[in-house]
């Protein structure tokens, strides 16, 4: 039933043969589909497999929902100290429009980061990471930082829609849906694109199902939410009073009737539906096995932290993401809410770590743990060369996760700049409707963000901005 017959493969073979002349996997598949080459009835169950050898096998994408300030995390700008409290030059702002949160301000002073940065080797090219992510440096050489991410949007919703789908307007397929569509399924018991949501704390921006939607692609590619309470997959568990044997017997009857229907109509969709029902039945066993982490060795808890034992935590989701990747799920996306930072930077910044919140600092190292796992799984020797591309693709997704722009000038295009020692470039500053905070003038700028001090129009630090050269306008 699963083996495609040769005549079915003719057009797909054509595309496979010509794929090398086309640039990317997605383009080829999309073209194939638009010409009707992909039969809708997927008799094997699950999405279509690719007709070429994919170089990227799986993606884990950590999306820090909100838009933390990269100036306080990864984008080291020491010369901003010299620009402290000076007016943002027009050459940097470049006419960029302001959000309602800042447009009423009389001035836009520059606020350098108040946090200490350290340089990590990162395989020789060197990255700077702030003290807010104390565990990340240790795995820096597993990471690739993309400093050129930007969107045109200045508000959360369109910006995330853009990052997820490539355009601000809702309605297009998400990153994971494309990946599912392009790579096909590698697992017969689990959905191909899984979404995990961790509830954060504080300023939680809304999520929308379009962020993992399938847009105009068939809806089998939409992200399947794996939930930490209730049924892990919606409607997974049989009602009370129905046993596995009961379900099996009922399913057998439905399949029996279906096969009669198939004999009558010769419609291959019926066969496909029987296969999907069998997969649903298998999922009822495979999902609980997936979410049961009791068999994880001690080393897991060292890497991910004890918090990972608790379903729904970020650490727990990272662990689940790894387990999903191990089982061949193509695309796992974690959304962690609560990274919207305005006046609350020191408390919330840096993976919500730190004694003031009492939250586990492990989540940083956990992300790192997941990151390293991602790269390992993506570039496993089994995936046939193309190692560097796979690594770049996966790593890019991880760093992209931190660049979501949101409200306030943070939506301004981030600089396009290669990683390396920072060049001079004044940061724009974001100000908010919050009680004003800025670096305390009575202690050294690095030691704290002080809510008491300051000038009325001063600002909290910013989330975005800066460009490689102070004179270059925003793209």
């Amino acid at each position: 039933m699963d083996a495609p017959t040769p005549d079915r493969l003719t057009r797909r073979r054509f595309f496979a043969a010509t794929a090398s002349t086309l640039s990317g996997a997605l383009g080829v598949t999309a073209l194939a589909s638009s010409l009707g080459a992909m039969p809708r009835a997927s008799s094997g169950g699950g999405p279509q497999g690719p007709h070429f050898r994919p170089r990227c096998k799986r993606v884990i994408y950590l999306h820090m929902e909100g838009g933390p300030s990269q100036l306080d995390l990864f984008d080291y700008k020491p010369r901003l100290q010299e620009w402290y409290d000076q007016e943002l030059p027009d050459s940097v702002r470049g006419g960029q429009r302001l959000t309602g949160m800042t447009s009423g301000q009389s001035r836009f002073p520059i606020a350098p980061s108040a946090f200490r940065f350290s340089r990590w080797d990162n395989g020789g090219d060197g990255v700077w990471i702030s003290e807010l992510m104390p565990h990340l440096g240790a795995v820096a050489d597993e990471l690739c930082f993309v400093h050129s991410m930007h969107t045109d949007a200045i508000n959360h919703e369109p910006a995330i829609t853009f990052v997820q789908t490539g355009t601000q307007q809702p309605g297009r397929p998400s990153f994971g849906a494309w990946t599912s569509y392009g790579l096909g399924s590698d697992n017969r018991n689990l959905p191909n694109f899984v979404v995990l949501i961790t509830q954060g704390f504080g300023n939680m921006q809304a999520l929308a199902s379009r962020f993992w939607g399938s847009g105009f692609l068939p809806s089998q590619h939409q992200g399947c939410k794996l939930r930490s309470s209730g049924d892990p997959v919606l409607y997974l568990n049989d009602p009370a009073g129905v046993s596995r044997a009961d379900r099996r017997a009922m399913l057998d009857l439905v399949a029996d009737f279906g096969r009669r229907e198939l004999a009558r109509t010769l419609d291959p969709e019926i066969e496909a539906r029987i296969a999907q029902q069998e997969m649903a039945f298998r999922m009822q066993a495979s999902v609980p096995e997936l979410t049961d982490v009791s068999g994880e060795p001690d080393s897991t808890w060292k890497l991910y932290g004890e918090e990972a034992r608790q379903p729904g935590t970020f650490a727990g989701s990272c662990l689940l993401a790894r387990r999903l990747a191990e089982r061949g799920v193509r695309f796992v996306q974690l959304f962690m809410r609560g990274w919207d930072q305005h006046g609350n930077r020191p408390r919330r910044c840096g993976c919500n770590a730190g004694p003031s919140t009492g939250r586990s600092p492990h989540c940083c190292s956990t992300s790192a743990g997941a990151a390293s796992w991602t790269t390992r799984w993506c570039s496993s020797p089994a995936s046939s060369g193309a190692r560097s591309t796979a690594r770049a693709a996966c790593r890019a997704t991880i760093t992209a996760a931190t660049t979501t722009r949101d409200a306030s000038p943070s939506g301004w295009p981030a600089a396009a700049r290669a990683p390396g020692p920072p060049t001079a470039g004044p940061a724009t500053t974001a100000t908010t409707s919050w009680p004003i905070r800025s670096p305390c003038t009575t202690c050294t700028p690095r030691c704290c963000i002080c809510s008491a001090s300051t000038t009325s129009a001063s600002s909290t630090g910013t989330r975005v901005a800066t460009s490689g050269s102070p004179t270059s306008p925003a793209p």
Partner: protein, 488 residues
């Protein structure tokens, strides 16, 4: 003291916790009150406000205990010559507000009248109405499509795109004129687009397959003459959708078998020429409505506010902002659980999962053509969604009450779901499953009771639990059949 805070607060008197509230809210006066015991002398009050996002703030005021002097009444303690007319007025006002029974009575009457007025106004249904501005707003070409970059050099007047001809004579250049153009007998586009959508509704795909796009990127019609003939019929029949649907479903094309003849399938694999009836799955809404209908649960009441049927807990909280007014899903009760899916409340950030899983569009952009996918999640929803399990239960209990023997019951239930009778082999298979399930539930009454507890619909009193539970699973199986879910 009476206080309000954004968000939570803790109140300490001389270092001891006197009151706290953990809550996410916007601040307003008098949200909480805390009773304080203050020792004689100087006390230190610390109010700690916890803000979880957005603006923060608090309100705090002293509210006197009974017997204490309220508000400005303390002015009475001043000797008469220390009060000026201004203070006197304040004192009188305070007396009136706090001590005068007749003032209190009149104030209460005013408040009550205001409440009634507000209730009356909120009971009047409201709807959005569009109206034309007296003078059209100046409109300009947007530079590179940016909404905030109108090009003052390039004003735009209201008219049809030149491609579509011009408005009918005498039609005003506004929405009314546009509507007149749309339905004008001289406008073939609307008629073709409309009948093509009806064709798509009946036959799965339109004569123009890109039913949303009759433009440059659209496909040519498979049967151009037929499309034009239908367009003319539509016009001749006074734009009657009912007449056109009757025309289509009484056609020979519609009444064909769905078995695909090998020869036809070889030359026309996509069935563009309609050599056989194109089987296809029901739409998401129809699947739910059908389950409700065959069980007899469907409430066909017309119109009214949206309803919130069963939905797994917590879906809205996962995505909503803390201050969102659609953060918590509160399911409807009673008849609203069984209204048509048309009336189901739609939160776009988190649409009803049993609709999305069956390819209902997200309603973020206009979707004329839906995809029709086939996923394991669909099977799980049909098996386990409370809505469908309840429908199977009520279907079973209804059938049990209406027929007395197994054969009649199975036949009736199958006929309700599929429109067909069971053939001998199907009946044998179904009966054998029914027997084994009945034995199983006879031996495990607790399981039967648990299964039958699904859903809020009233229970049939007389039916034995093992019969009901066994027939419920048969009903669930029948609701899952291709013959039930597919138009054939």
């Amino acid at each position: 003291v009476s206080l309000g805070s954004d968000d939570g607060f803790q109140l300490f008197v001389n270092g001891a916790l006197a009151g706290e509230r953990r809550v996410e809210r916007a601040a307003a006066p008098d949200q909480d009150s805390v009773h304080l015991h203050l020792p004689q002398g100087r006390s230190m009050l610390v109010l700690k406000v916890v803000n979880t996002g957005g603006d923060g703030g608090f309100a705090l005021r002293h509210r006197p205990a009974p017997g204490e002097l309220a508000g400005d009444l303390w002015l009475a303690l001043l000797p008469g010559d220390a009060r000026d007319p201004g203070l006197d007025r304040r004192l009188v006002a305070a007396w009136r507000r706090h001590c005068s029974p007749s003032y209190a009575g009149r104030a209460a009457a005013v408040a009550s009248a205001e409440q009634q007025l507000a209730a009356l106004e909120s009971a009047i249904p409201r709807t959005m109405v569009m109206s034309e501005d007296p003078a059209p707003r100046p409109t300009f070409v947007l530079q590179r499509g940016e909404y905030d970059k109108p090009d003052p050099e390039r004003p735009v007047a209201r008219d049809l795109p030149a491609l579509f001809g011009s408005l009918p004579d005498g039609a005003p250049p506004n929405r009314l004129g546009l509507a007149q153009w749309v339905v004008s007998d001289q406008n073939p586009l609307f008629l073709r687009v409309a009948v093509n959508r009806l064709w798509q509704f009946v036959f799965g795909q339109g004569l123009v397959r890109t039913s949303e796009d009759f433009g440059l990127q659209g496909e040519w019609p498979s049967h151009p003459e037929l499309l034009d003939w239908l367009a003319c019929e539509f016009r001749a029949r006074g734009h009657s959708l009912r007449a056109m649907l009757r025309l289509l479903v009484t056609s020979e094309t519609f009444q064909q078998q769905s078995r695909r003849p090998a020869a036809a399938a070889a030359v026309d694999p996509d069935n563009r020429l309609l050599g056989w009836f194109p089987r296809r799955r029901l739409a998401a809404e129809a699947i739910r409505d059908q389950a409700l209908f065959v069980s007899g649960l469907l409430v066909e009441r017309f119109g009214g506010p949206s309803v919130k049927p069963y939905q797994p807990e917590g879906l809205w909280q996962e995505v909503a902002m803390p201050q969102s007014n659609t953060r918590t899903y509160v399911p409807s009760s009673g008849a609203d659980l069984w209204r048509r899916s048309l009336y189901v409340y739609w939160k776009r950030a988190c649409p009803p999962p049993n609709m999305l899983v069956f390819d209902a569009p997200t309603r973020e952009s206009c979707t004329v053509r839906r995809s029709s996918t086939n996923t394991p999640l669909q099977a799980l929803a049909l098996w386990n969604d409370e809505q469908f399990v309840e429908a199977a239960r009520v279907l079973a209990q209804r059938t049990l009450a209406e027929r007395t023997d197994d054969e009649a019951r199975l036949q009736l239930m199958h006929r309700r779901c599929t429109g067909h009778a069971l053939d001998d082999q199907q009946f044998a298979a179904a009966q054998s499953l029914l027997h084994s399930l009945r034995e199983r539930y006879e031996a495990a009454p607790a399981d039967a009771a648990a299964l039958l507890a699904t859903g809020a619909a009233p229970q049939a009193a007389a039916a034995p639990a093992d019969d009901s539970a066994a027939l419920l699973l048969l009903g669930s199986a029948f609701l899952n059949l291709d013959a039930t879910l597919w138009i054939d």
